[in-house]
Subunit: 488 residues, 4 copies
Amino acid sequence: MCGIFGIVQAESSQSLGLPVGCLSGLAVDGLTALQHRGTESSGLVGADGVERQHMDIVKGHGLVRDVYTSENIGKFNDSVILIGHNRYSTSGKKSGINCVQPFVVYTAVGCVAISHNGELVDAKKKRLEVLHQGVGLSTDTDSELIGQMIAKAVALNYKCRRDHDPGDISRELAVTVSAFSTSYSLLVMTYDRFYAVRDPYGNRPLCVGTIYNSSSTEALAYCAASESCAFPSTAKLDFELQPGEIVELSKNGIKSVCQMKPHTPSAMCIFEYVYFARNDTIMEGQQVQTVREACGKQMALEDQIEADIVSNVPDSSTAAAIGYSIQSGIHYEPCLHRNPYVGRSFIQPSNELRVSAIKKKFGVLKKNVEGKRIVLIDDSIVRGNTMSALVKVLREAGAKEVHLRIASPPLRFACFMGINIPTREELVAANRDIDQVTQFIGADSVKYLSVEGLQHAVQSGIDKSDTKFEVGHCTACLTGNYPVNVDF
Amino acid sequence: MCGIFGIVQAESSQSLGLPVGCLSGLAVDGLTALQHRGTESSGLVGADGVERQHMDIVKGHGLVRDVYTSENIGKFNDSVILIGHNRYSTSGKKSGINCVQPFVVYTAVGCVAISHNGELVDAKKKRLEVLHQGVGLSTDTDSELIGQMIAKAVALNYKCRRDHDPGDISRELAVTVSAFSTSYSLLVMTYDRFYAVRDPYGNRPLCVGTIYNSSSTEALAYCAASESCAFPSTAKLDFELQPGEIVELSKNGIKSVCQMKPHTPSAMCIFEYVYFARNDTIMEGQQVQTVREACGKQMALEDQIEADIVSNVPDSSTAAAIGYSIQSGIHYEPCLHRNPYVGRSFIQPSNELRVSAIKKKFGVLKKNVEGKRIVLIDDSIVRGNTMSALVKVLREAGAKEVHLRIASPPLRFACFMGINIPTREELVAANRDIDQVTQFIGADSVKYLSVEGLQHAVQSGIDKSDTKFEVGHCTACLTGNYPVNVDF
Amino acid sequence: MCGIFGIVQAESSQSLGLPVGCLSGLAVDGLTALQHRGTESSGLVGADGVERQHMDIVKGHGLVRDVYTSENIGKFNDSVILIGHNRYSTSGKKSGINCVQPFVVYTAVGCVAISHNGELVDAKKKRLEVLHQGVGLSTDTDSELIGQMIAKAVALNYKCRRDHDPGDISRELAVTVSAFSTSYSLLVMTYDRFYAVRDPYGNRPLCVGTIYNSSSTEALAYCAASESCAFPSTAKLDFELQPGEIVELSKNGIKSVCQMKPHTPSAMCIFEYVYFARNDTIMEGQQVQTVREACGKQMALEDQIEADIVSNVPDSSTAAAIGYSIQSGIHYEPCLHRNPYVGRSFIQPSNELRVSAIKKKFGVLKKNVEGKRIVLIDDSIVRGNTMSALVKVLREAGAKEVHLRIASPPLRFACFMGINIPTREELVAANRDIDQVTQFIGADSVKYLSVEGLQHAVQSGIDKSDTKFEVGHCTACLTGNYPVNVDF
Amino acid sequence: MCGIFGIVQAESSQSLGLPVGCLSGLAVDGLTALQHRGTESSGLVGADGVERQHMDIVKGHGLVRDVYTSENIGKFNDSVILIGHNRYSTSGKKSGINCVQPFVVYTAVGCVAISHNGELVDAKKKRLEVLHQGVGLSTDTDSELIGQMIAKAVALNYKCRRDHDPGDISRELAVTVSAFSTSYSLLVMTYDRFYAVRDPYGNRPLCVGTIYNSSSTEALAYCAASESCAFPSTAKLDFELQPGEIVELSKNGIKSVCQMKPHTPSAMCIFEYVYFARNDTIMEGQQVQTVREACGKQMALEDQIEADIVSNVPDSSTAAAIGYSIQSGIHYEPCLHRNPYVGRSFIQPSNELRVSAIKKKFGVLKKNVEGKRIVLIDDSIVRGNTMSALVKVLREAGAKEVHLRIASPPLRFACFMGINIPTREELVAANRDIDQVTQFIGADSVKYLSVEGLQHAVQSGIDKSDTKFEVGHCTACLTGNYPVNVDF
């Protein structure tokens, strides 16, 4: 998980006189809208469309709102093109600042910047190859590896580029990325344009759009993003990239420049729907919140339980809970209040006083819970500790029964394509059957959505006529069916 | 608005061996749970039950999670009693650090600490009196004024205190606070106990409770808080203070030590129900979320509109929207996604590109909105700018009709009792009739809950047998009927 | 030890159009020049000459260069008068921010600000009096105590002040300070003027001056400071305050308004010459560096030793070393390099590797030391640990003999008048005779300047015709002769 | 200018049980002692002697004392070898954090770290070569360029390394550095050893030493540094590297492993003696302070002036002033006090009030200056602005005559070997004869030391028998005679 965003000023907009700092402001807004995809660090790189040997960079650890200031953003006053990146901490440890993307590399044709969302399953082998070719690497990031391979391709091709548009590195980029199977959605920027690349499996989302002026008649800028929610309100979502597609965005507009042979069916990560993407994002033509409501409905279809209320775990599972309520006819009523201000706990637990972080984070709406049979909906369970504590809290508040319904199938396998799932030992469902999970959680009953149910909820809303290739989804973390061979 | 919290270790708990740092940890947790009442600054003061000339203090600007660290909280390792305060910025400007409460003052009987929630309507006159008595003041806070008056009372009474328990300042406190009408809920601490004081109008909430060990048999600590949501999960809400009541909390328990003549009917701020209090707080015996749902239901009863969906403005008006949906039978469906990560905007507005902060904060669930007639519920409207922008966003996303329903009456008058309402010029409803408000907002229709409807929703759930005095609510900001004479 | 500085714009300067921010800039420069008198914290308070109920305040911990920023200094753009304070940490612990001076207090006639250098020997008794009069105190600082006493005096006198200039509190100030014997140099500011006060013993220095425009014809501002080195280069030192003198500085100039009965002879702290004051300060009409050179010469007169070089401990004892060299005819040659960048040490000492902080701070000039008999001059010795380490370092570098000469008498007694001298147990000379000190330090010989020698060096350069009263110096820390009775 | 330091634990020390954290503590101390060579940023890299794929890194902007904390230094608890770097800001702009050295690069044989002092005159050409070989560069630093060339050499040689000690990259290092003429002193570290490299011109200093236990019998660690002042007090300076020498430091000791053909005569930067090096450093066998005193003496020999006092500009020119005083027989007396606490100025200059930063930084000892003819010694003049202000200050304080003597020849040419000299336009002496300089400065007379005089002062103290090759010094900035061809 990570979020990427790129923007380039349209030629026509120059006559319209976009205010100074507008483009970088839009870029910061785009990254803010993608904050849910990564909160460890953020970076932006800008180029001025003329100078090839210099790009401006702002990077930092923490939230977008803390990394960018009106002072440092001033660096981008001359930028006509920017790409950015929000990093998700996969290890829990803060990475060194030189691992913060976008990664910038000087090559024989000037600076190239790279933003990467995903995880290259072939990275380890490729990395050794590069090192033995005599190229040093300064980080262990996939984006540096890609950068060095582009630098190599550019140098090899240097003589043939004589009459070439200097900012055009589409051929070198295609050569480089075709060395990798999955998973990557990339933005690659030269001094005057950037490329959006989606891997042949379509594992991570990527879309492009046009920002219009307020009367919607003239294009001001073109942009690309992990999710459509990153586009400003005056933008139009032009299209989502096909698996294996490379698109060029420049002042002249959006142009598809390459289509690698896609893997069929495609293998977009199904957990984007379950957990990662923002409710208001349009993905494969459908609204994520609608899919989540459909998951809740499907769960109700697969379920028979008598209860007084359906409730959610704020804020992630509200859509599924509403869907379940509609389908089951059981009244939707919140039973938990989430405190958005919680920090770390200073209390050492003791026998006398069991105070858990969960209880600080969630307050119980006692009057809604007392004497009730509750269907509690969550989107997924990882380790099960939070849910176990919540069930206990509800019982202490007087709940008569707590029936847990998970709007996705059990998480049982590791992901090697960019999602930080704990090891199998830690996954509550990896080594437990449903009775054991129920006992661990302490609920009256636990039910998961079936894999087929999830696939149905996700795929039934997709307009097949929209896509050139056969649509599929990666369910590896649920089924163990990996779309590629993975070296363990 | 502000949040106050106090805690004192029970005598019995000493044999149980509460871990070091537990008491201050509970205090931080209490302030965290009251964070919604004030985010400008936070402070904690602790005493060790023995030394009268010293209290430990930690104060800082910002959120509770940023003010307290495991390092500075270590100061309280010997504390057996603490009071704290979260400050709400009334002016928008950050106050000096010496205005951060609790306020600590050395007096003839040792240190006294004060946490104040409310605003003294008689402060200006009293302040002049004190200055002309030859007492200098170092801030313009009400809490320092109260502190100096206690110091004076203590010195006057010093000789009569000979055989007196040195930490007992109940008489001096009663003399001091009886000089003020409203509004104040106070915590006042000496070296071994603290007092909870609610003003004779009961304008601000205040309650006390007991924290038990996990088997709920022995009291570990006694605490007081603005709202019951601040008590840990092993606590029992003992009672809410009567208007004019003074309660002492010490290692020996909770004891009512004084009952000032209350104003009847009482005048608790009705906006606590509408806006301030947390959903899971119990106030006047009822759950705040339930009252808000009742407001939504009442709104539906007062309304006749045909629509496709009822929706909320996340997260504040969810309860009212659910109530409206239940009563009206119109389907509840969210239409806005709130981004919790927004920071400041770097874009200067231009004609070409209308980008508003509102659109960054809220994403639209387009598929839920397109072609729909929407009843949009909010809890209140102040200036109307946010709502006006939201209505525009919904229309751009394809909404057919947007009918705004406010689950409280129009805000038309200033508050002089602690709530930061803008001047009348800024209040959208102060100088506009309903048609003008509708036009300003740009909705198809706007309706407010009636004052009687709000009072009914608030008061019908109160168990009158629970209260000694006649129950009433201050509606000054809605009606202009101030419970006291106010010098303008 | 502390440093105080005040400045008020001259009436004439208004026509000259001093640039905005100039006055506060001069105040920051003045405090910067006084940084050696206190590095724990710094504060500035400004008034605009019109508004009596408000003063602007900037305070912070750390160095002047870190406390003031171009942003916070902007608060003073309307100020026509400012007083400031640098605090010396007497305890090693950082004080709370509300102890950072100047202290500001609202009184019946408006705001009053106080900067205090010194330590009131009568504080404890006076403090109890004030508390029992019913006045609360929020800190344990002398400046708050003085502030409350001024507030009291102002209120008592309020009715008689009818026709009075509202900013004039000279009478009330005189009443207040006459309650204290020593030690204090004070700046006390109202909205349009400030007072400089020196105690009847003259224990701490204080002087006033006029800042001229570059052609030295028109007064731009009037200022007061602990030392003349704080005045800008275009200023003229007008005079040093007499013991017991109160001077008013306003837009109309500098005016002596009160002369309390002085203690004779006066008792200025002799350690100001030995250690505290800056070399380029003029004190009692003489340059401090000249006095220090005289101390070195006197030391040489009292000494007979054969040696190859005279050397200093950089940077404090250079003047004394030069004086010694001139008088003795022994060549001056540095033997130590001081590293200005040292921070804390990360090495835990072990037997194998004796690395001391001293060796990090000082590098040895080996080629100057090898085989040499060295007279090493220092200005004073407190605990003796640094000197002991330095002697060892010099021996390791090949010094043949190291003879330590201290240009002041042994420190043997505590100071109760504002200087932070360790307890007697820690003072190397308090309980050791000269042989024991020599052994402790490890030098070949140790000699101190005699008390008479120091007094001679200090007093022989004073122009007696300049002073109205008999000149004397407090030598309590050297002789135990305290100028006042001190409650131990 | 930059400072480099490296340290490796001796095998024997392991039995002696060096405390954990001792080695990194010594490294921080070494960098602290080299702080004068660079204050922009600092970095340390450590390896544990076993793991080849990982090095620990701590880097930051600012002073050594701010970059390293007891927390981050804990990373090095397992390190048995560390190299570090202090960076001098050549441009005034703060470099990006990934430019902070040491630079770490993964290669085919594991991690390699590089600390570089100097500036490669051939960098631009070499850089293009590398880019066209298809290697991307992420910074514009010389150290990354060297790192990539080592990575290349290592990969080319990979097969031949079969039976090779994996940490030994001496051959690859020799191949790499021989591609560059000057200027570089390098430390290059693998997982278990590091190399010290001095360029064939000997342009930058570099020396190695052994740290003994306190009884000086057993080696605890081996270290290398830009200057001998970086070694702890229990260390012995073993030798200074010959021009073109490569030395290996490992747990087994210090071993010369390669001697590149040196340029004769050598061309060590003569400005190290004039300005950069620390007074207590031993360079070419002589103490820097002694050389500076010799420059002062030589200046006096070349001069005939009648004056009352010789004075210095603190703290840089004290040694030269003492030398001049000894030779001329004119009394040495300070006339300026330097305030170590100055920060930025907040005052906008105006006609009415000329306040310069110089006057804040230096206080005048008026009594020493009044009526005196002063010989003011400085070590060098760059732009002349400071000196011009100082002369004015001395005159205002009453100086009768001010004769400026510079203990080095006029700076007239740019340096391309690592010293940040302003462009010729800014150098006061580049386009002015001595009369014009005198007029610009405003002194009564100005004299510089002759080039021959400086060379004599520097070279007469060198023991020629100590060096294998002919000794010479680079005087390019004074004479325009560059030791290599430089592409302008």
